[in-house]
Symmetry: C2
């Protein structure tokens, strides 16, 4: 026995630092907070500074907002106000459009009030699967993840796909694996499932299939970016993916035209390629931004039998919000310095 | 012991038919062959009969077709000729556009020469994951599956999503599960992996990332349909999904405009929403079909740094094929009765 002991000591000599390093890595692997600070910002900044604008949505639904309790309405409005103020401050401070989109969406993913990240809708198996996408308007680069189960902030993963991969879309376990390699914060699926959110959503939005968060931003340099994140439909099954992670359907950005993020019954937004259609009408038919949104919502989505909302900013920083749903939780500020937080268009 | 026996007999009385039924179900579960015959055909047929047309692609690549052996060229051409003849016969016989699209693509999925279904490109883990989508032009319905591993014919699954679900896109294990419930033929992943195809593809298409099969059809009733199926990029990882299963990017169909299927470097087709962009240029800029394809391939995909091919048929049955790659395996017949099979545009 005494012959074995020296080996054991040597083994321990190696094992202890390995174990230490393992935990050290894990506790310092919290890259999420640093994503927007660390990434090289390749967006062009050589233009003369202009006035930024921002639109955020927290989901469109068919439930009458009047059935929500006052305290819940205030909770949603306060959450929207906070992210609006943070996004606005970033833009006025000279931050890039996509940094704002990422930060705003990540905050909403962290807030269990919204159907994205923590607090997202549950699948028929009682788990959460998440989708997100982002696009930058100056280079038309895009990134998306779909059906991921362990990425704390799917919008960060979408941005890492845009920024650190040669791909546009990663799905399922592979996407989770990619995010882990990118050292994003990974969580057990149970992290996303909140009892409070479940009960609250059930009460307030029982008939709604259509929560999503999204953001479009226009920065001081005239750059546009759009992003969208969701937990998808309540009780969804079979790995269903809606429009949120689909570039062209849920998200679109082109500095020469507009930035668009959609929320609603995803299947109809895919079949209309809604976000790209908004841009096509502006680019090829000289529609104004608001006319284009109206056309897509009322003459395309609505006519197919779908519903939802679109938020957008055009290349001049004009903003627009359109929906054919009772609610569209949103917040905006425009280049004239006006701002608003509201739960429906009225 | 003799007390137990009667129960055993009763148990067996139930078990035997259950086991029998189980196998009976399995051997009769081969629904694939019947998908196109069984599905109710809801496409409108009340218009006066016109002359149909058809375009098929078997992938676009950057490898010089001259490096391929004559016997391989003949193998590809023969395979394309056969599916063209079958599709043509169906259309002339009055079959619906989407039935032809499904049948043609399923045949190419079954043929290990093509990067779809059996013989598809391998992931970095040595497995096969498959994507497919289909759209019908009269109702703008669409179905897609991505990252599936066990569905013998992903195009059937895409059609079942269109026809038998309220969704447009299903991904990963959930999509496999759905297909199983739809009683499509399921196979072990190893079914898709063929040594011959591996060696052959490696030799002929070593530098190519971009095999895909697709079909656009215009039937006697003026209906358009488009479909696309692929194994994706060679050596892909992280659950990468290209444009093939993305409605608007890889596949689009609208009776009032055109049907489109793309093949190529998927990331660039997603970032250009290529198939929908072809339709937008025709619809909103009055471009001809061939001008629209040229614009998207050369002024959009190419300018972003991508490459690939697009096949399309417009609402008048005119056909077009465009690519900026050395090869585009394709076959077509048009409403004037002309037809052709070729491995490149020249």
């Amino acid at each position: 026995m005494s012959k074995v002991k020296p080996y054991l000591y040597i083994l321990l000599l190696f094992l202890i630092p390995m174990i230490f390093f393992h935990f050290f890595r894990n506790t310092n692997g919290d890259k999420n907070e640093r994503v927007t600070e660390e990434v090289e910002d390749s967006s062009p900044k050589n233009q003369k500074e202009i006035l930024p604008s921002l639109v955020i949505h927290g989901g469109a639904g068919t439930a009458d907002p009047e059935i929500m309790s006052d305290s819940l309405k205030i909770a949603y409005k306060s959450a929207l106000f906070e992210v609006l103020e943070i996004g606005k401050a970033m833009l006025l401070n000279g931050d890039s459009a996509h940094h704002v989109v990422i930060r705003v969406i990540a905050m909403m993913e962290d807030n269990q009030l919204f159907n994205a990240g923590r607090g997202a809708a549950l699948t028929n198996k009682g788990t959460v699967t998440l989708d997100a996408s982002i696009m930058t308007g100056w280079d038309k680069k895009a990134g998306a993840v779909a059906c991921v189960e362990h990425i704390k902030n799917p919008i960060y993963a979408a941005y890492q796909v845009l920024n650190n991969s040669s791909h546009v879309m990663l799905v399922g376990k592979g996407a989770d694996e990619f995010a882990k390699q990118q050292r994003l914060v990974m969580v057990p699926n149970s992290y996303f499932i909140t009892e409070n959110a479940k009960a609250r959503l059930k009460k307030a939005l029982e008939t709604d299939k259509t929560g999503t968060v999204g953001c479009v931003a226009y920065d001081k340099y005239g750059n546009l970016s759009a992003g969208t994140s969701t937990g998808g439909m309540n009780n969804k099954k079979f790995g269903r993916v809606g429009d949120s992670p689909i570039i062209g359907s849920g998200t679109w950005a082109d500095n020469d035209v507009c930035a668009v993020s959609c929320s609603g019954w995803g299947e109809f937004f895919i079949r209309s390629v809604a976000a790209h259609e908004v841009a096509s009408l502006i680019k090829y038919k000289d529609y104004s931004l608001s006319k284009s949104l109206h056309e897509v919502i009322y003459n395309q989505i609505d006519k197919l039998g779908g519903n939802g909302a679109i938020i957008a900013i055009d290349k001049n920083g004009e903003i627009a919000i359109e929906s054919n749903t009772a609610t569209i939780f949103h917040a905006w500020f425009d280049k004239n310095g006006r701002q608003n937080v509201a739960l429906s268009k009225k």
